[in-house]
């Protein structure tokens, strides 16, 4: 869908909202280790897609466990957020932003912020096609 002329009348297009799945993530505000929330497995899938999570998607549960906290902290470091390991507002806001589909960590390799220090996930992160 192209809008070459910004002054074009868009009124005949539907009023889109953000991607529903990613919008849903804002329901996890304040979630931290030890919590269990419906749909948290979807957020793990998000982290998996972008290279932060070592587990296979078939193993995802709705538990906020150690490995998810570690992945979350890595993500927060990469995006210059306070690495609290908690799903705070600023982290969820960042997660909901439109982004490039290329993973941030590929084969455990990243020189974003987290890559400058040791990363417990780095030996067994999944490989993505890119």
């Amino acid at each position: 869908q192209f809008f070459p002329n910004i002054t074009h009348d868009h009124s005949h297009f539907p009023n889109f909202t953000s991607n529903p799945a990613w919008e849903y993530f804002k329901n996890f505000t304040g979630c931290h280790i030890g919590d269990q929330r419906d749909g948290l497995a979807k957020l793990k899938q998000y982290f998996y897609n972008f290279g932060y999570f070592p587990d296979s998607p078939s193993n995802f549960t709705d538990d906020f466990d150690d490995s998810f906290e570690s992945a979350l902290k890595t993500y927060q470091q990469n995006f210059n957020l306070n690495p609290t390991g908690v799903l705070d507002e600023s982290t969820l806001e960042q997660i909901q932003r439109p982004r490039c589909g290329v993973a941030d960590i590929i084969n455990g390799s990243s020189t974003m912020n987290s890559g400058k220090s040791s990363n417990s996930h780095s030996s067994n992160l999944h490989t993505v096609a890119h």
Binding site: S18, R97, R99, C100, I106, S110
Partner: protein, 198 residues
């Protein structure tokens, strides 16, 4: 800046790269010119050149808009979310989500659509991947992974330039400053619109 594992890049014998658009997309000249401008930003700072060709299957870089599952194992997800992806050298595939509300011309920040996405901004970012750059944590850089809707961000930052020049060296004509004569104006615009979020 970062590189893909193994630091893949186009070989020294292939510095004049060709690109082609998926014929089925039937893109207009206006849309094609957006990609041309995006390529120019990278060639301004490197010895690489980019030339459009009609031969889709003979091109080094292939550009296509696709919706949903398009066969590479990385399906697109509709409006916003994932906008595009590109592969590391020498693969050359550059895919954009056909469901996005792309803006190819004009001031994207004034779009009446909250989900409007600036095509040139995304193109400049993905070309960075095509050349071998990974993502960067430097928020001002082109290779930062996220971009808000209705935001234009097309000028290479020093982080981007340092990264790509580590792979290919510098363009002899590059003067070491901005990649755009209007960068000051654009940076101002970016600050004005960066709080839009999604």
């Amino acid at each position: 800046f970062s590189f893909f594992p193994g630091r893949p890049r186009w070989t020294p014998s292939n510095r004049q790269l060709t690109y082609a658009f998926l014929p089925a997309n039937q893109l207009t000249a206006t849309v094609k010119s957006v990609f041309s401008r995006a390529f120019d930003r990278w060639s301004a700072v490197t010895p690489l050149t980019f030339k459009e060709t009609d031969s889709f299957y003979g091109a080094d870089i292939t550009i296509g808009f696709f919706a949903g599952d398009h066969g590479d194992g990385e399906p697109f997800d509709g409006v916003l979310g994932t906008l595009a992806h590109a592969f590391s050298p020498p693969n050359g595939r550059f895919h954009l989500d056909g469901d996005e509300n792309w803006v190819a011309e004009g001031d994207v920040s004034t779009s009446s659509l909250s989900s409007a996405v600036d095509l040139e901004s995304v193109a400049v970012h993905e070309i960075g991947h095509l050349l071998g750059l990974g993502h960067s944590s430097v928020e001002e850089s082109i290779m930062y992974p996220t971009i808000s809707s209705r935001r234009k961000k097309v000028d290479l930052a020093s982080d981007d330039i340092e990264g790509v020049q580590m792979l290919y060296g510098s363009n002899p004509n590059y003067n070491g400053s901005s990649t755009s004569p209007t960068s000051t104006t654009r940076s101002h615009q970016e600050r004005d619109t960066s709080s839009n979020g999604v």
